[in-house]
Amino acid sequence: MDGYTDSDWNWDFYEELVDDVDENRNIIQCIFCGKCVGDCPATKVSNFNIRKIIRKVLRGDRSVLKDSDIWYCYLCERCRRVCPKDNINIPLLIINLRNESFKKGYGPRYNDLRKYVEMSERFLTNGTVLEDPLDGGLLPERMEELNEICNFARIKYVFKASKHKEKKKKKS
C-alpha cells in the first residue's frame, strides 16, 4: 500500500513537467519493476528511491519537490541503462524536479550551495572550476562570453553571494 486513494490521483503535475521538458512524457511507460532502484548507487547509501519518486509524480503528489531525496541522485545514468522500457530519461526528470523545487523555494539547503560559491566564482572569472588550471584559464577578454551566457542563471546569484560576503568581511 502506498497510502494513496483514487481521489488523490491527478495528471496536473505530470502535465506540467511534460510541458516543461517534453521527454518527461515517457515516464508514463514505467512498469515499476524496480530495476533502477536495485542498481542505483544513491539508493545504496541514502533514501533515494526513483520508483517512489516516479509514483509520486504520476500520482500528482507535489510533496516530492520538498523531499531531500531528489538531491541525492548521482546522475550516473545507470537507471537508463537497466530500464526495460525505451526512452525513460530518469536523470532528466530529476533535474527537472530539482528545478521545480528551486522555483518553489524548497531547493537545497544554503550550506549545500555554499560549496559551489568558489567553483562558480572561478568559472565566471577564469572559465574553469579550479584555481591555477593546467594551462591558465580562459583569456580575460573572452570571459565576457561566459558571463553573458550565464546571465540570470543561479550560478550568477551564487557568484554574487560570494562577492557580497567578501565585501561584508572587508567592512568588518
Binding site: 548507487p41 544513491a42 546522475l75 533535474i95 530539482r98 560549496k115
Partner: protein
C-alpha cells in the same frame, strides 16, 4: 535540422582501415579537451599528448575552451540552454582548429554529448541560439572572434581517449618499453563511460559489457582481476562527495576495499574525476576515520600508465605530490629493466 551526433564513428574507421586505423588520423588535426581535474594529474594530459606526438600525429589544445560546465548543470545552477550554449561555444572554438577532439574525462565527454543532445528539443535549441546571438549584437567589433552559431553540420568529431587508444592499440603497444610484469590490475570504467548511450550507434553496443580497459591490462602484460564493485560509482556522484560526503564515501570505500580484497595491485581508470575521488589523500583519511580501515591501493589513469610503460620520466607520468609508497613500488616493478 536535427543536431548532428558528433561521436566519431570508430566502427567505420576500423572497417575502412583494417589493420591500420592510425592511418585515418594521419592527416587529421587532433585536439585534447582540457578537463579541469587534469590540473591535479598533469600526466593524464601529458601522457596522451606525448604518445600522439610520438606517433607523428598533429595534436593541440584549444586556448579558448572553457570548462564543460557539467558540474553546474548537474546542480541546476545553469539551464539546459545555457549549458548547451557553453557547449556550442567550446565546439565552435575547437571546430576552428581541429577535426577530432579527444576526452580524458568521462564527465567532460558526457557533457559535450549531452549538450548536443539537448539541441534536439526545438525550444532549447532556439534559446541556445538566442544566447549565442548576444555576442553578435554586442559592439565587440567586426573582428571579434567570439561569434558563434549552433553547429548544424560541423566537421568536428569527438571521442573518448579509451575508445581512441583501443582503436589504435597495436600502435600503442609498439610504442611501449615496459610491460606490467604480471601485476594484478582492477579496472574501473566509471559511470559515464559504462552508461553512456549518446555515442553509441546500436542498442547492443550500449548494453554489452565494456571490456576495453580489461583488454588493455592483458595486452600490457598484466592480469585483469574481477571484483564485486567493478561497475559501481567511484563516489563522486555528480558532486555528491561535496554535498553529502559521508554517504558518498561509503561507495568509495566499498569500491577500494573490493579491489583490495581480490588482491589487485592497483586500480586503472579512464577518468581524472574518478581518479581524484579514489585517490585524494583527504578522502582516504576520511574513509579510515569513518570505516576504521586505512586503504592504500594505488590508482592510475590509463594515460598515465601508458606514459609509465613508454618509459617516460616518473614525475611526468605521476605528479610527485600524489606519490605513495605503494605507487612508487608499482613504478619500480614496471620500470625494472
Amino acid at each position: 535540422m536535427e543536431a548532428v551526433n558528433l561521436a566519431l564513428n570508430l566502427d567505420e574507421i576500423e572497417r575502412n582501415y583494417p589493420g591500420n586505423p592510425l592511418e585515418y588520423f594521419k592527416d587529421k588535426k587532433l585536439c585534447l579537451f582540457k578537463a579541469c581535474l587534469e590540473k591535479y594529474f598533469p600526466g593524464v594530459r601529458w601522457g596522451i599528448q606525448d604518445l600522439l606526438e610520438g606517433l607523428d600525429l598533429e595534436v593541440s589544445t584549444c586556448a579558448n575552451q572553457s570548462c564543460c560546465s557539467g558540474t553546474f548543470f548537474q546542480r541546476n545552477l545553469i539551464t539546459r540552454a545555457q549549458f548547451a550554449a557553453i557547449n556550442e561555444r567550446n565546439l565552435n572554438e575547437m571546430n576552428r582548429q581541429a577535426d577530432i577532439v579527444l576526452f580524458s574525462c568521462n564527465g567532460c565527454y558526457n557533457s559535450v554529448l549531452r549538450g548536443r543532445d539537448f539541441l534536439k528539443f526545438s525550444e532549447v535549441k532556439k534559446k541556445t541560439q538566442d544566447l549565442l546571438n548576444i555576442f553578435k549584437e554586442k559592439e565587440f567589433g567586426e573582428n571579434y572572434p567570439g561569434k558563434y552559431d549552433i553547429l548544424d553540420n560541423p566537421k568536428i568529431r569527438v571521442t573518448h581517449d579509451l575508445d581512441f587508444l583501443y582503436l589504435i592499440r597495436n600502435d600503442v603497444l609498439n610504442s611501449l618499453k615496459f610491460d606490467l610484469k604480471g601485476l594484478k590490475v582492477a579496472a574501473h570504467y566509471g559511470c559515464h563511460y559504462l552508461n553512456l548511450e549518446r555515442d553509441k550507434k546500436t542498442v547492443e553496443s550500449y548494453l554489452r559489457d565494456k571490456t576495453k580497459l580489461d583488454e588493455f591490462i592483458s595486452l600490457f602484460g598484466g592480469i585483469p582481476v574481477d571484483y564485486q564493485e567493478k561497475e559501481e560509482c567511484c563516489g563522486w556522484g555528480a558532486s555528491q562527495i561535496v554535498i553529502h560526503p559521508n554517504d558518498a564515501l561509503k561507495g568509495t570505500y566499498k569500491k577500494l576495499k573490493s579491489a583490495e580484497n581480490v588482491g589487485a595491485d592497483f586500480l586503472l581508470m579512464p577518468c581524472p574525476t574518478c581518479l581524484y575521488t579514489l585517490s585524494k589523500p583527504e578522502f582516504r583519511n576520511e574513509i579510515s576515520v569513518l570505516f576504521g580501515e586505512k586503504l592504500d591501493i594505488p590508482t592510475i589513469h590509463l594515460n598515465e600508465l601508458i606514459a609509465i610503460l613508454r618509459g617516460c620520466e616518473e614525475e611526468r607520468c605521476i605528479t610527485l605530490r600524489r606519490k605513495t609508497p605503494r605507487l612508487d613500488e608499482i613504478f619500480e616493478i614496471i620500470t625494472k629493466e
